[in-house]
């Protein structure tokens, strides 16, 4: 079963090794790991997706907390959250075969970000299944994929249980609790709001 953890960690040398080493020690495979700055200076945010037994969640979380550089851990599990992944896909394409790839990209709300005589590059953002969908369609339509680079999942809880920034803004509880929470698959609303750049 896939477990997704969001960890806020100190932005210091060696912290990634400590986190990675913990999973190695438990013999648990990390499916994806994204790291970057968070809303706080000196604090990085990691989204870790790992494949472990259904009961392993507690142990992983408790063990992560034992690392001195780990400040906060959230096992997002089944919680309502927004999940995104970014992928760059380079596809072999000649001027003749390009146009149908443009169409595909359109359907998947992906963008063409590079064009060369023999290839083009697609940028796509979304939940993993959407990215996998595009890859599958490309494979099925005989377009040769030359390279794929995926960031892995990034996750943020919706509503007031999300980031510490919202927490700090002290949205009165109860008020937003009663708000309907959108499900992951219905995340299209947010996507549509994405502005073309």
């Amino acid at each position: 079963m896939l477990h997704t953890f969001v960890a806020l960690v100190e932005d210091k040398p060696g912290v990634l090794t400590r986190v990675a080493s913990l999973f190695r020690r438990l013999n648990i495979n990390i499916v994806s790991l994204t790291v970057g700055h968070s809303e706080k200076t000196g604090v990085s945010r990691m989204t870790i997706v790992s494949d472990a037994s259904p009961t392993a969640g507690h142990r992983i979380m408790a063990s992560l907390y034992k690392l001195e550089n780990v400040l906060q851990v959230d096992d997002v599990g089944q919680a309502a959250c927004v999940s995104r992944e970014l992928a760059l896909i380079k596809v072999a394409a000649t001027p003749k075969t390009r146009s149908h790839i443009f169409e595909l990209a359109e359907v998947f709300r992906a963008r063409i970000v590079d064009l060369a005589p023999e290839s083009l590059m697609i940028e796509i953002t979304g939940v993993e299944s959407k990215i996998e969908g595009l890859i599958q369609v490309l494979n099925e339509s005989d377009d040769r994929i030359l390279e794929i680079s995926r960031t892995g999942r990034m996750v943020m809880r919706r509503g007031q249980h999300t980031s510490r920034v919202l927490d700090a803004m002290r949205v009165p509880s109860g008020e937003s609790e009663s708000e309907p929470i959108a499900e992951d698959d219905e995340a299209e609303i947010t996507e549509e709001a994405d502005l073309p750049q």
Partner: protein, 580 residues
């Protein structure tokens, strides 16, 4: 000189190291010099810190470990880079497995050449990452004071553990303004999953009230938390028998009528039977190690389980529990006790347990006639009597360790010092040095096998140099005894590589200026112990014991806790032992 005198002045990194340690109350360190730590050694004499020069860096860490276990304070070990640092690893892992608070300081090559495979450069923070609670690499003099202070805090707070601080040579040589107070670490951040919620406490109280056959499992956490008073209160209030893990021995007084003794692989039969028949286990600061549970599938299947533990990662790790109370044992029990009313008189359960005890006590060594053989159990029993169960006993790893745990009845916390989790042979002699340095007024005994003693025997020289009043008992059976026992039981007596030659230990001691005697019969045991105790300064006794004796009862790895291998025959000691 005191750290206050230095405050606000400019010091070298090396001076800051010692000033900070002094400020933190450190008065003794165990170490060994070398190139990358020489600036620190050069500055040492300006500070009121005693340095015990060891013979091997593994010994330095075991000494710091013994110091910590005996005193409850953080033990400090120092070594140079490269081989000095790698020699520490076994000691650090030993401390990690038993949750011992240590600070290990290593020298490192200059920051300018880090990562270039410079002479004696080794990535010790990388190597020790999985065996330390945390570690640090320090490359600037101004970081030394805050890092050392934080490292000490990390080592001793929450579930304690070893912390390593690797300091580059240029950081030691550089200078910075020293300010002890300003270097104070952020207050300790307790594990956010620490909680003993009110409803869990109530649920635990309800389980305890309704239990008919409860057993308390007292672990190392009882000693580390200083929870004797609370565990005694819980046991006495409801007449609950108390079984101890190896590292929990001494936590609960052995002479207490509710004390059962050690559980697990070499626990007494009645202890394991009580656990298997129990309907409620109250685990107090222990982690259900495989050596205490036997096969998990058959472990205490009739029992509900309450787990009181400071490390949330231990909950449901090995044994699924019904109620988890996460926190410091003494504190959690303080919140639990008010919910429990006293129960009068001996319970039917306690009578049952005592009856089980009666059946097993026939194997008690004291009930057997003196046949002229010397058994290790005799040695432990007589030593226990002679020292009234009050000495600090530091054991090594093997059969003698189990016999000590069975026959030396520890009354007080921190009087049994042994490597439980890692089972590190060679631990006893150096750890005893640490214990003696921590508690000079206490009587300290080393009990080591002939195998393990030879692993760190070089530290005899440290004992001689420091003239430490340590009594050393070598339990000499001519074998790596515990290996031989496994070979006897599970490998058709194929004694491959388990017979081991020893030097003449009395002569070896003599070469160090340490007096000693050899003991071959039971009658000689007490006089030798007396001589050792009367002598101020070190003394060694070479106990030449029965060669092929085994530790009983035993639960074979993977068997159920009640499936014990018992001594064969009626007068089993004599049957299993070989005539000399």
């Amino acid at each position: 000189m005191s750290e206050a005198k230095f405050a606000g002045t400019r010091l070298t990194g090396a001076e800051i190291l010692w000033a900070t340690l002094e400020g933190e109350g450190v008065r003794e360190v165990f170490g060994y010099p070398g190139g990358a730590i020489l600036p620190a050694y050069d500055a040492l004499r300006k500070f009121p810190i005693r340095h015990i020069l060891v013979r091997h860096e593994q010994g330095a860490v075991h000494m710091a470990d013994g110091y910590a276990r005996a005193s409850g304070k953080v033990g400090v070990a120092v070594a140079t880079s490269g081989p000095g640092a790698t020699n520490m690893v076994t000691g650090i892992a030993t401390a990690m497995m038993d949750s011992i608070p240590l600070l290990c300081v290593t020298g490192q090559v200059s920051s300018k050449v880090l990562g270039t495979d410079a002479f004696q450069e080794i990535d010790i923070t990388g190597i020790t990452l999985p065996v330390t609670k945390h570690n640090y690499l320090v490359t600037r003099a101004e970081d030394i004071a805050p890092v050392i202070r934080e490292a000490l805090l990390v080592a001793r707070s929450g579930r304690p553990g070893p912390v390593l601080v690797d300091i580059t040579k240029d950081a030691q040589q550089g200078s910075a303004t020293y300010d002890f107070a300003a270097s104070a670490p952020e207050p300790y951040r307790p594990h956010p999953m620490l909680r003993a919620e009110e409803d869990s406490v109530l649920k635990a109280a309800e389980l305890i009230r309704s239990a008919k056959r409860p057993v308390i499992l007292a672990g190392h956490g009882m000693i580390q938390s200083g929870a004797r008073k609370q565990v005694l209160a819980l046991a006495e209030r409801l007449q609950i028998p108390v079984a101890s893990t190896l590292l929990g021995l001494g936590g609960f007084p052995a002479s207490h009528p509710l004390s059962l003794g050690m559980m697990g692989m070499h626990g007494e039969a009645w202890v394991n039977q009580a656990i298997q028949q129990s309907d409620l286990l109250i685990a107090c600061g222990m982690r259900f190690d495989d050596r205490v549970t036997g096969s998990l599938a058959t472990y205490a299947i009739y029992a509900k389980k309450i787990h009181i533990e400071i490390d949330p990662a231990e909950i449901n790790k090995n044994v699924k529990v019904d109620v988890a109370l996460i926190g410091d044992l003494a504190e959690v029990l303080e919140t639990l006790l008010p919910h429990l009313a006293p129960r009068e008189g001996e319970s039917a359960w306690m009578r049952e347990v005592n009856a089980m005890k009666g059946e097993c006590s026939v194997r008690d060594i004291q009930n057997l006639p003196d046949t002229g053989h010397l058994y290790a159990a005799h040695v432990m029993n007589d030593l226990w009597h002679a020292t009234h169960g009050k000495a600090i006993v530091v054991t090594d790893v093997g059969q003698h360790q189990m016999w000590e745990a069975q026959y030396y009845k520890h009354e007080d916390p921190r009087t049994l010092i042994t490597s439980g989790g890692l089972g590190t042979m060679g631990f006893a002699l150096p750890a005893a040095i640490g214990a003696k340095v921590a508690c000079p007024e206490k009587e300290v005994w080393v009990i080591a096998g002939d195998g393990g003693f030879q692993m760190t025997a070089a530290e005899l020289s440290t004992i001689a140099q420091e003239n430490l009043d340590i009594n050393i008992a070598v339990v000499n059976n001519g074998y790596l005894g515990m290996v031989r026992q496994w070979q006897e039981f599970f490998y058709e007596k194929n004694y491959e590589s388990s017979p081991i030659l020893s030097p003449d230990y009395v002569k070896l001691a003599d070469a160090h200026g340490i007096p000693g005697v050899a003991v071959r019969t039971r009658g000689e045991v007490l006089p030798a112990v007396k001589a050792a105790r009367e002598r101020k300064g070190p003394f060694l006794i070479n106990f030449l014991v029965e060669k092929e004796d085994s530790v009983y009862p035993m639960i074979a790895a993977g068997s159920a806790l009640h499936e014990m291998i018992r001594r064969p025959g009626h007068n089993p000691l004599i049957e299993t032992a070989q005539d000399v």
